[in-house]
């Protein structure tokens, strides 16, 4: 099991943070383009899912998986989006993404007056805490399964 990468977007689609751990394939486009594509995809999936759903939804879109990876999606009511790609063995990790939001983003970005909201996250502290948080996840190590 492993974590491939993680994106944090704000509600306007700006990529606030991108972290990469075990990524074997790059998208073949610049990072900037990739962020736009990723945001566009998640935006479209949200609208697709809300139209497609036969019932009213509470959380909406949560994960999708392909033959090789699984994408976990979490969105706060303020529109902050956290997207994490892992391998297929990882169970639904909504609580982990929520933890990234509540114990890392809120603690080290929102509570830091020097961090301008809506801009790429520059905080060294946030970056290192996020990195060690992800590395400590039970399913992080590349071949733990």
């Amino acid at each position: 099991m492993t974590v491939h990468n993680l994106y944090i977007f704000d509600r306007n689609g700006t990529c606030l943070h991108y972290g990469e751990w075990n990524r074997k394939k790059q998208a073949g486009i610049s990072k900037d383009e990739e962020f736009k594509l990723m945001y566009g995809m998640s935006f479209s999936i949200r609208s697709f899912v809300s139209k497609m759903s036969p019932l009213d939804m509470k959380d909406g879109f949560m994960t999708f998986q392909t033959s090789r990876y699984k994408l976990h999606y979490y969105e706060t009511p303020t529109g902050l989006k956290i997207i994490m790609n892992t391998d297929l063995g990882v169970p639904n990790s909504r609580d982990i993404l929520h933890q990234i939001y509540s114990t890392l983003y809120v603690e080290y970005i929102v509570k830091n007056p020097l961090c301008a909201l809506g801009d790429t996250l520059q905080s060294e502290l946030f970056n290192s805490r996020l990195d060690s948080f992800v590395r400590a996840l039970p399913f992080f190590s590349a071949r733990a399964a």
């Binding site: 990723m38 497609m52 998986q65």
Partner: protein, 219 residues
């Protein structure tokens, strides 16, 4: 446990078959006095709730009928605009039925081609080499399963998140497609499937899949 609907998408992203197997109806009818305590707006030629949830009426629900008469898009059956009609205190008390808007066939076509490109982007943004497109998409209300054949046709099944045996069902639908659509001499490739035998067999296998929690191996 339920299987909601089946979509077949050709390799260009066109919807060639759609079947709604089980559509849960969430409809609420309520009598209102003036002024209306919901905020309504026009969205996609429908009048939908944009703010205010009460008694089972949720944001996103569309106005389905007024005083028991079905509405016609954003107009009442008499051709008056619904929003104008509801502004007039003389028309109250009024009984309005709300529910999730049904997808029109145009919207279904649009959603099918939307999924076609999402499928492709899902594989392009993969962090691993050799990834397929989206095979399973999960929400709290339903799970979407997609099976793409080597020739590029996509079979999509929407089901309850707890429904099992969908992989076998998707392969069964592929089998039915090969037997009854492709072998039909009047069927031209990539075009909508209008074939009674295909319909019948599909319905049959959906029933079997719904009844047996685990669908048997494809014979």
């Amino acid at each position: 446990m339920a299987i909601f609907s089946v979509y077949v998408v050709n390799k260009a992203g066109g919807l060639i078959y759609q079947y709604d197997n089980h559509v849960p109806r969430t409809e609420v009818e309520k009598t209102f006095s003036f002024p209306l305590d919901l905020v309504l707006k026009i969205h996609d030629e429908k009048v939908v709730v944009s703010f205010g949830q009460r008694d089972g009426i949720r944001v996103g629900h569309a106005v389905l009928s007024i005083n028991g008469v079905d509405v016609n898009g954003k107009n009442t059956s008499e051709g008056k605009e619904i929003l104008e009609y509801l502004k007039d205190p003389a028309n109250y008390p009024v009984s309005i039925k709300f529910g999730r808007a049904r997808l029109s066939s145009n919207e279904k076509l649009m959603l099918a081609s939307m999924f076609h490109s999402l499928f492709a982007i899902g594989s392009q943004l993969s962090p691993e080499v050799g990834s397929s497109g989206i095979e399973m998409l999960e929400t709290d209300a339903f799970k979407l399963h997609c099976f793409q054949t080597l020739t590029g046709i996509k079979f999509i099944v929407l089901a309850d998140p707890r429904q099992t045996g969908i992989d076998a069902l998707l392969r069964k639908i592929y089998e039915i497609y090969s037997d009854f659509a492709l072998k039909n001499p009047f069927y031209s490739l990539e075009m909508p499937i209008r074939c009674e035998l295909f319909d019948q067999n599909l319905k049959g296998s959906l029933e079997v899949a719904e009844k047996a929690a685990t669908f048997g191996p494809v014979s």
